[in-house]
């Protein structure tokens, strides 16, 4: 039936003017009543942009944790508890017992400083490595090139990666640790002598410098497997093997687990907030739809009197609503993408904060919005049509 037709076909009169041959096509009302269809669409666009934007920004917090500590994917950390002398015997034991091949075992010392995140300062470890391990470690972290040089043995020097430099506003010659720094104390001023070109967050110095000037005097073993898959297996094996013994095993999946646990409650709260937002916007849209449909009662009454069935008119309104909602939703996704890009460039990138502008979870969160609006809008119209009497219109009782 033409009343349900979506695309209004057009022809020309003898005067050359364009005329819709099926004037009741679904898009006709929307296109010719922009004053009504644009506000409806705009509400959906703003709502979708708001939901996708909020979720993306919130997701950037755990994403930042994963990005900042992503370097730990490349190794399994092993350190004795309570006895600094046990590191080497533990590493010897691993060499003998590990069922997974180990490409390299690195012995390191660490000291702590902080990096900036969108929720404040987070701890970050500076690893002190032996000279022959420094380049290997950087290569393993995906370093493509190095601006400057590697830190010399025993000197207060450090190499950092590009995101760290961006985050802390450091360049070659800047002070990374120092006697005046509460968050990154060192008795000497530790200067940046190299900046590695990698996406990973890395801070390295020489093991000799940390052994000479930093506590605690405990060496950590870094076990590097040949492939990521084998690294994961090594993580699991080490955790199982040392369970119940005074040995700490540090693995990337612990970061994932801790992050998920940390944000579980936040996401529950977020679900309630988004649910409430959807409810509010849906109610608002329902009321708007109700007002707009009320303004069309004369149209519906007239068409029904002329011979259009309720089903045909309802189908037309449903198609119009689907158009508005789907178009609004798609436009909202585009708007959210644009907004997030602006936020990323102006707020996040300068500090190397992580933000996924194409976060699928954020966009998925916006899906209930058009569905709820569609259901409420259609229910509103169906209820209106149920008790609708066209005679009332043509007799001017409800004009």
């Amino acid at each position: 039936m033409s009343v349900r037709s979506v695309d209004p076909p057009a022809a020309k009169t003898s005067t050359g003017r364009r005329v819709l041959t099926r004037p009741l096509a679904a898009t006709t009302y929307l296109l010719r009543n922009a004053g009504k269809s644009i506000p409806l669409t705009a509400v959906i666009v703003l709502a979708v942009m708001l939901v996708a934007g909020i979720i993306s920004m919130i997701n950037s917090i755990p994403l930042s944790i994963r990005v900042i500590y992503n370097y730990s994917r490349e190794f399994t950390g092993i350190t004795p508890r309570g006895d600094a002398a046990k590191t080497q015997p533990i590493l010897d034991e691993i060499k003998k017992k590990s069922p997974i091949s180990i490409e390299r075992i690195i012995v390191c010392r660490t000291t702590a400083t902080v990096v900036q995140s969108i929720v404040g300062k987070w701890p970050f470890y500076i690893a002190g490595l032996e000279q022959n391990d420094l380049q290997y470690y950087l290569d393993r972290q995906g370093s493509k090139s190095l601006e400057g040089r590697l830190p010399a043995a025993g000197k207060p020097e450090a190499v950092i990666s590009r995101p760290v430099a961006q985050n802390l506003g450091l360049k070659l010659g800047s002070e990374l640790l120092g006697p005046e720094k509460d968050d990154g104390f060192s008795p000497n001023s530790v200067k940046v002598v190299g900046i590695a070109d990698t996406e990973r967050w890395v801070m390295l110095t020489s093991i000799e410098y940390l052994q000479d000037f930093h506590f605690p005097p405990i060496d950590i073993g870094i076990l590097c497997a040949p492939t990521p898959a084998e690294q994961s297996k090594l993580d699991l094996w080490a955790e199982k093997y040392f369970k119940g013994r005074p040995v700490a095993v540090l693995a990337y999946h612990q970061v994932e687990k801790d992050t998920n646990d940390m944000f579980a409650t936040l996401y529950q709260i977020l679900n309630v907030v988004i649910g409430t937002l959807v409810l509010v916007i849906t109610t608002m849209m329902g009321m708007l739809m109700n007002i707009y449909q009320s303004q069309r009662l004369v149209e519906f009454g007239l068409l029904q009197a002329l011979g259009y069935t309720k089903k045909q008119l309802l189908s037309r309104v449903v198609i119009e609503t689907v158009f508005v909602v789907v178009f609004g939703w798609l436009l909202g996704l585009v708007a959210a993408y644009g907004l997030l890009n602006v936020a990323k460039r102006t707020l996040m990138d300068p500090k190397a904060f992580a933000l996924n502008v194409l976060d699928p979870v954020a966009y998925a969160y916006s899906i209930p919005l058009p569905i709820a609006i569609l259901i409420v809008a259609i229910a509103t119209v169906v209820l209106r049509f149920r008790k609708f009497d066209p005679i009332g219109v043509v007799e001017r009782r409800i004009v």
Partner: protein, 218 residues
């Protein structure tokens, strides 16, 4: 063609029966102009709604080509109105977002020809206003667009419910004459309280308090 057999329409008002039409019987013949005359509240419009299938009689029967309207479902009655009947109401109701010619095409859901809509509007003196929106037309012009819509597709019966009610006398007479002149082979059933509008009617029935008070005049 269309027969009304003892049709009554009863409303409930605080437990009392109110008869809008009481046992009305009449027939609409092919190609005739039937006038239904009566004062306000006499049940003229209710009778028109019964005849056109917009309302169902409380008792009695209305048949079109021998088929009772009450035996049809809503969709069939709607289809009958769309394909066989044309309507002109008291007020010149048009869809505000459609031009005059597009409003006429609404009466032909399967895609009426622009030529026939243009011809009708031209015959009604609106050749230069085909693309005007309703708010750009005068009351008389709007009612003439409604007449064109009612005539679109050559309906077998045109029902006109006080089509001159919103017009001055001169415009009213002009609209009635145009309806009568352009209806082709279709019958015209017009209800009015103004006898001067029915001067060209083939037959006139008078309604008082829901009854036909006088037999056919012709």
């Amino acid at each position: 063609m269309l027969k009304v057999n003892s049709a009554s329409l009863v409303y409930q008002d605080q437990g009392r029966d109110l008869f809008a039409c009481r046992e009305v019987s009449l027939e609409v013949r092919e190609n005739e102009f039937l006038g239904i005359l009566g004062p306000s509240g006499s049940g003229k419009s209710s009778l028109l709604y019964l005849m056109s299938g917009l309302k169902t009689p409380s008792s009695g029967q209305i048949t079109f080509d021998g088929k009772p309207l009450s035996g049809m479902d809503d969709a069939s009655r709607a289809n009958l109105r769309l394909k066989e009947f044309g309507f002109v109401f008291q007020q010149p109701y048009l869809l505000g977002y459609l031009s005059a010619i597009e409003n006429v095409l609404v009466a032909q859901p399967s895609g009426g020809t622009i030529e026939s809509a243009t011809d009708l509007l031209t015959s009604l003196g609106l050749a230069n206003k085909l693309h005007r929106l309703p708010h750009e037309l005068s009351g008389g012009e709007r009612q003439r667009v409604c007449v064109a819509r009612a005539l679109m597709g050559n309906p077998r019966i045109i029902f006109a419910d006080e089509p001159t009610a919103s017009l001055d006398h001169k415009n009213g007479v002009a609209v009635v004459n145009l309806l009568n002149d352009l209806r082709g082979k279709g019958a015209l059933v017009m209800v009015t309280h103004d006898p001067t509008m029915l001067e060209r009617a083939d037959r006139i029935v008078r309604l008082v308090d829901g009854h036909i008070s006088e037999p056919d005049s012709n």
